[in-house]
Symmetry: D2
């Protein structure tokens, strides 16, 4: 069971700062709770908002010292880099539009980065961040939460082991209902920025959730998309960005895929689901029931693998905290992303070697894949839903 | 509750003959049982096989008189048409390749036709059959079984009433596993003819099950496809016809759809599923659990409508035979196709008027839609999965 | 696949008559459809109601000849017994109160009997019918429908084979909602007679559905109840018979069980469910999803066995008519009861031997077990829910 | 959203110590993570084991200062009580046998208590603890985890509001498989102490999980048991304590219930489930799928209420941290128990009034109910499964 401590020494000494995530934001608190669950790092610095009052208020509630609350990311990066007890990493949870520049700032200052997804808007930006992280020899994690579930890790292991045979076809989808009405017109903040290209980039639905589909498929199957044909729909009058998307993909090596993402699917909460079909068997995983994995092999009855009860590989099982039948959910998955990141970081700090398998978090390279996917989907759709190549 | 009798007078006097469906065939027996369940017609003639011995053996087992067992469809059509007590309709359950010519033969002889799907291979053939049925003033039913389920009829009524608002998006799929291995190489008869273009036509997977998706979506939503982009895959080496297909569709009026059909989806039995998303609500129906309909409306908890318990419209409920919780399945759905057909035919025989709604069976016109859909999917895929128009 | 014909010669020559089941009754039509589905017997005689007009009307609709429509069961038994082409068996579908006397009448006349459940009210009556059937060497089937499902037969085979190890505990329940309101006060016929001791006997809920639990457990497990402790509840004011019941049972050999049956369980349609726990594994079957069987073995992931896909034993699979994923339901289960009965009867008529396993229908002896169970539950409850022995 | 901080000032100043929960124990870490998730209190003291080395090792990992690691509970209570910065509450997570004496020790020292369930073994002990807590004016929380789920709180609210009408019947069960084999003989620690009366008390299965059933039913329904009839089974040879139990209960006011708990139910992980039937509707909740609540009302289709999407009452929704479809699980439920407890404690510390509804944690009084239930079940079973009264 993963467990650090809830105090500095208990946490192995790791500390972090956060940009964004002030009072009223949602995802910042999720990151903080995910980190706190296992006590793997302590928050010690922050620039939680462009509004200094919010930063102060939030920092106080979190017990961050006054002199480590900053007016902007640039000041924070510079001053934290200068401290002997400066933060080990920064967590970036601002709206998408600022991810790139803030990440760059911290990388340049020599601070490891954890960034919410999507990484940024443009392929060139992502490539720059990759190069910068490499040049500075820094860790860069992009928090694709769903890769944190033990059952997802087990699915990945089953594909990798060849148990399912050659992968032929993947059907993956992510359906939500929250933008089935013109919620942005009501002044709802989250809806307002998600549907605004200035803040969210060139795609809403694909950018926000289609990219999770892309990442999850890649994580589980290891397949690389060679080309795709995408149709991005706008069903609500007045919107300029997609709220639904259908995407045919082809992978290197001959496998095929079909993705659907939607924000207008009334009745769907957060219905991310993936089905992988190989020549010997298939598997299915649904995020809303994440402790189980359906497995079907040729010539055997269909199976339901239960986390904790059934023989997950040790690596996957190691990301679980409690026995079978005690549901682990979204926070635990999120915490697992941080667990792998912090373990890797700690090994670096302590100059210990660490097995490649242990560095099980999505990096800036995966972030680039996401940005590429989004860009190519938009390109395909704009051209009339034609096939475009990725390379 | 639907019930006729099991003897001639009890059945309201309707009689039928069958072409195909001899010993060893599967679907012929299903049609006969579906008809027998409600006793709406009696079998009195047949040409069950090209092998006279099989015809004789099958006929005897079914109690058909010797002089009404025929060597071929042409003889059967001619002689039955000449009898004063000739059959009221013929049921055609031969392999796909002969549907067209046999249907034409019986229409020309003035006999009503029930034909398994797909109707035929070519659009021109389907149009000829439509014209012929019209000219001869005959009924022509194509047995799209899944339209027979009460919950499907309820779904149709809910779309038609506007309860779901404007239909925006439809996601429909039909997944099977039976051709995930090269079954045809093992000599399995069904697999052999399904994968053989000479017997099955220009498409296997789309032709067999993709066409059910097309018909079910059309039946429930009433939407007409304006264009589509299809990718037909062949995953098993040596096959010449598709065993998996992904299809993007667009409907007249702006709604969009995404279809998937597969015969290589290990773990799937006969997993036909449709989800319809409107501006006010959605519905979902799955053939393997056919007595229930999931309904989700904006601002209300998700609902599960149970046939018999919940307020299906009278037309849909009228196709049910037993109380809620007593599962009705495939045979009952099939019987419902015949119930609507026989009621319509009986009204004609008895020169009674019948409401349009009561004539709730799929006709030769729906058969043409199916043939067109299959043809256009093949055309799109052959051209590199580009968009093709239907008109 | 089971198939006879829909005409006399096709049905192997078997004919039957029916007592009860006139216009307005429910279960009579179910029996007739179940028999018609496979065409194993033809209806040729009937006394469908105490009202001759209803008998005449129903008989005409079913194509029964006028001279074989009878005023009462006594006349019918006598005259049919006297005919050279008299019925091979009678189907009794009257309200419970008359089962005993009608069954006795037909047995005395030398006619095989199929009787709806419960067999009768008193243990002594059931014993008399057993003795009579034996003395006359007649078949006597009690139609416990749920034993007809292939998955139930598979469950039985898995227990018998020892795959589950020693059976330790059985949890079985049958929940309905239809009597959660005082429906009988509204004049609903079915509710009126079910809640009336004169017509339904000494128990309503246990008699009607608790007895299905008892029979299903016995059919699957083979276990014999040694003692029980029952609490029969009456939740609706004004009722004199139970509408809910909790029953602890103990079986010979040390296994234990817990049963619950209810007619006041709002939200439940016809929720019969059984879970059997052995020392090596368990199984679970639910009537509302009858084509599947959940199996869990020690050290293996949980399995879902799908009828038609997974390796049911030949005997169980033989009661299936269509491939996996095409739901078979209540009518097919009912038809399977008749299939086993008619096969046995035909073997007798044709003086062919038949394996014991093939005679897979519930007999008058099972009817006695049901009557005993009901009687003992009532006795236990009346005495203050104390333990009573069965022997 | 619940959030404190992860440092002392952030946590509102609350600190705690722990007795038990050293390296190798399971439940201690769960409590610590649950507290850390929301940062509502910081661990500052501990006696994690009877082995000082384990206490030291665990304390170090958690960042507890050396001088606050204690050799035994008595020393810890005394010294913490004497400090000006002593712990605000102690968390007791030792095996059952020592709960009573440790709790008493801390109460006597004037320290608030959180104790794992069951509270203790004897009714008299529980009554003593109640009296002591009252005399000392201390908070005493018993961590019945499952009351922490938002959907459980919603269920409680729906019963309390009268939406379901008068409660008639409750069916609740808790099935596990982990003791289906003689695991204790293998040296597995958890199994060894659970099946040992010296450590676990007079009941294993009822004590461990049956008591969760009792508490959950009481929490949701508010009903008080007036009498019960229990059969405690021992299925594995060599055991002296129950591994399965069936219990009929009757509540004050006329409602009835049926409970089943099992540790030999192969295929069950942690299957706690409750169904509540009222005169107007019913609800169903299952711990393994805890974000949903099934609701069925007379005359309305069955509903599935989704946490976050559907209109939970404000109190229930307030215990949720993330949007619908993002699963919250066992840790979040556990954290909710602590959230209510810490909020109440903080109000006391800060001398603020707090609404009764906000004090939504199970107390020592509920602990007594649990002990009484266990005792009476054992008494009933020993007397031959007869009815015994609770008063």
């Amino acid at each position: 069971m993963i467990e650090g401590g809830s105090t500095r020494s208990g946490s192995g000494g790791l500390t972090y700062g956060m940009v964004g995530g002030g009072e009223g934001s949602f995802i910042g608190g999720v990151h903080r709770k995910a980190i706190a669950l296992d006590g793997l790092a302590l928050i010690q610095a922050g620039c939680f908002s462009r509004d200094p009052a919010i930063t102060r208020f939030t920092g106080e509630a979190l017990g961050v010292a006054d002199d480590r609350l900053y007016a902007d990311a640039t000041e924070m990066a510079k001053k934290e880099a200068a401290r002997s007890d400066g933060i080990d990493f920064v967590v970036i949870v601002t709206p998408n539009a600022s991810h790139y520049s803030i990440a760059r700032t911290f990388l340049q200052a020599g601070i490891n980065v954890v960034c919410d997804k999507p990484l940024c808007f443009e392929i060139a930006e992502a490539e720059e961040l990759i190069a910068l992280a490499k040049a500075k020899d820094l860790l860069f994690c992009v928090t694709y939460t769903y890769t944190g579930y033990p059952a997802v890790k087990q699915a990945r292991a089953m594909v990798a082991s060849g148990e399912l045979g050659d992968i032929r076809f993947i059907n993956a989808e992510y359906a939500q209902e929250w933008l089935a009405t013109p919620l942005e017109a009501s002044g709802q903040r989250q809806a307002a920025w998600r549907t605004d290209p200035a803040q969210t980039g060139k795609s809403n639905c694909v950018g926000d959730i289609g990219s999770h589909v892309e990442n999850l498929v890649h994580y589980i199957s290891g397949l690389k998309i060679s080309r795709l044909c995408a149709r991005l729909d706008i069903f609500l009058p007045g919107r300029v960005l997609d709220d639904n998307a259908s995407i045919m993909v082809e992978y290197e090596g001959g496998a095929k895929g079909l993705y659907w993402s939607s924000q207008i699917a009334i009745g769907s909460d957060n219905a991310l689901r993936i089905r992988v079909y190989g020549s010997k068997g298939s598997l299915e995983w649904a995020q809303e029931n994440p402790n189980y994995l359906k497995v079907a092999m040729l010539g055997k009855p269909g199976e339901v693998w239960s986390r904790g009860r059934d023989p997950f590989v040790a690596h996957a099982q190691g990301f679980s905290r409690i026995p079978s039948g005690h549901p682990e959910g979204y926070f635990e998955a999120f915490a697992n992303v941080y667990a792998a990141f912090c373990r890797t970081l700690l090994a670096r700090v302590e100059k210990r070697p660490i097995a490649a398998e242990e560095m099980d978090f999505q990096t800036v390279a995966n972030g680039l894949e996401g940005v590429t996917f989004i860009s190519k989907c938009v390109e395909s759709s704009r051209k009339g839903s034609v096939w475009v190549h990725l390379d």
